[in-house]
Symmetry: C2
Subunit: 373 residues, 2 copies
Amino acid sequence: VVEGVAVMAGAISRLDETIGGVRPVDADWLDRAAARLDRLTKPRHSLGRLEWIATHLCAIQETLAPRSRRRRIVVFAGDHGVAEEGVSAYPSVVTAQMVGNFLRGGAAINVLAREAGADVCVVDVGVASPIDSTGGAAAFLSRRVRAGTQNMACDAAMSIDEMTLAINAGIDVADAAAVDGVALLACGDMGIGNTTAASAMTAALVGVPASGVIGRGTGIDDAALERKREVVARALRVNRPAGDPLEVLRTVGGLEIAAMTGAYLSAARHRIAIVGDGFIATAAVLVASALRPAVLDYWFPGHQSSEPGHRVQLAHLGRPPLLDLDMRLGEGTGAALAMQVIGAAAAVMNGMTTFDAAGVAGRQDRSGLADSR
Amino acid sequence: VVEGVAVMAGAISRLDETIGGVRPVDADWLDRAAARLDRLTKPRHSLGRLEWIATHLCAIQETLAPRSRRRRIVVFAGDHGVAEEGVSAYPSVVTAQMVGNFLRGGAAINVLAREAGADVCVVDVGVASPIDSTGGAAAFLSRRVRAGTQNMACDAAMSIDEMTLAINAGIDVADAAAVDGVALLACGDMGIGNTTAASAMTAALVGVPASGVIGRGTGIDDAALERKREVVARALRVNRPAGDPLEVLRTVGGLEIAAMTGAYLSAARHRIAIVGDGFIATAAVLVASALRPAVLDYWFPGHQSSEPGHRVQLAHLGRPPLLDLDMRLGEGTGAALAMQVIGAAAAVMNGMTTFDAAGVAGRQDRSGLADSR
């Protein structure tokens, strides 16, 4: 891990510093939070995974009164040179058009973020086509590194400098979130062709055959699926990134995935809870956690996408998803729904009363479980 | 089905009328809603089960602009004579104490309802101990039929008249919800001993051995679990309710479960979407849907409880849950979380723009899928 960083030396000193700032959460806080939960007016452990979320949120924030607001979803947008291979059902121009849609508030992420009480920020790290940035329904930040990546089936997707610029954009966005008092941060993606990149990354980082992580993305037909398989195999053959996480990101990743990687690491450094999304976002979690495993202490796996590679990623990371609703849209939509579940867990910790305070009798047996009274 | 109703004739005429008013939803509305979803700016079907929810909500409300508000959670509380057999980890007095807790706003359901933007109403249909009704954090309605059911291990839990009064309380509550413009209605339960009743009901209504539907409820030890098994077997032997749904409800059910049954049927009659909860609430769905299968058109299975019998119920009803978070608290807590998911689905339908309106390009292939442009 550290070797990969060292190789790229000076150019990535901000990343280095960010990685160094990520600390594991303190297990004492997990215990204190769990003890508090056991005094609340409910059978012990009866809120299941909400209790798991609540204890981890407490440990992240080092408090027994965790916040779940402010909530923010940052959608990173970038194009993929590999789209020219015909691996998507949609043309590349849709990336810019959808960014416009985000800014005018008509996309799924706008709607679901509003339901979750989250603000939306869109960051262009490499959209190929011109963006109509009128709208104002979401904040817009231009950190455009280049007009999409190189076609990874022919060459490395990015140079080191390009990757670094994209990573730094993500770091800056999470730094700003910390200043703004964000408690829950999600990263979403927009980029035609990005399931192809995420497939190659997942195969390389998890060490599984590419065939097991390739799906239909936006809904490609059988011929395109076959092309996608061949293209991913070619990209891995051409680039041979082996297992070095930054080399994988650079050669077969994407600008928006690089930015997400930076954002996750920076969020963890600032003790901001990260709400995971789907296949693309989790590819960035694979990189971030390979660089610094402690980043996972800050990560809540938002949902299980129906893209098959996402299941492989989550199994590799060893954490079951909060939601499983057969979604495969990206944009941060799964994370937006999961924010509501995490918000509920925080509310339980803050809003419920104890058995003592409520005058409610505890268990009548003494069956080896700790009593709540 | 109709025979069971006829047997009890006059006494249950309100139930009869309510059942008769439940109509299946119109499949045309499902199709129209699905067609609308396919024009929104997202890959086709990419919002997975949110799309399923959205189409069904449209069909329930007969509109393409479905409402998810007002939202209401009604917690029906009642005691169980069978608690005297030592089948719960908590004494019966906890039912009344927890009702007090609901009214003062300190329970999980208060907190989770607030997160979901739902109001809470507590209905006493048969709490055995005195209730301190000061508080005001939730509406409180007293429709107390009697001080808990009879011990079903010795006798029928209720008389026909008692069951009818409880069912009518539920019907009235859903009638009032219709007047108040409620779009999503959930029923929660509070009643020490009620997983024992729900286990007996589930075994009888699904036609499975009781051993497969009995769990630890609030967290009983092995000795109590063994007692619970024996008690359920005894209750079924003493009462022999066979498969008649109202006889099952009357002999091995509970006052709060009878009220929920009435509320579900009345909600469906008023075309109010029903948000399902856990093991107890789904026992009422088993009765309601046995009386009128069309009630299921209005029912969204909120979550999968970790109580083993709930899985059996959901499999029998043939509908997968929206959430699976290992919860087993009751009170409507699973439904409260699910309301947020359903709200998100409604928001998608109302808030997203179409490909045409957004100027976003559609699919570039013509691979047999209907195009959105």
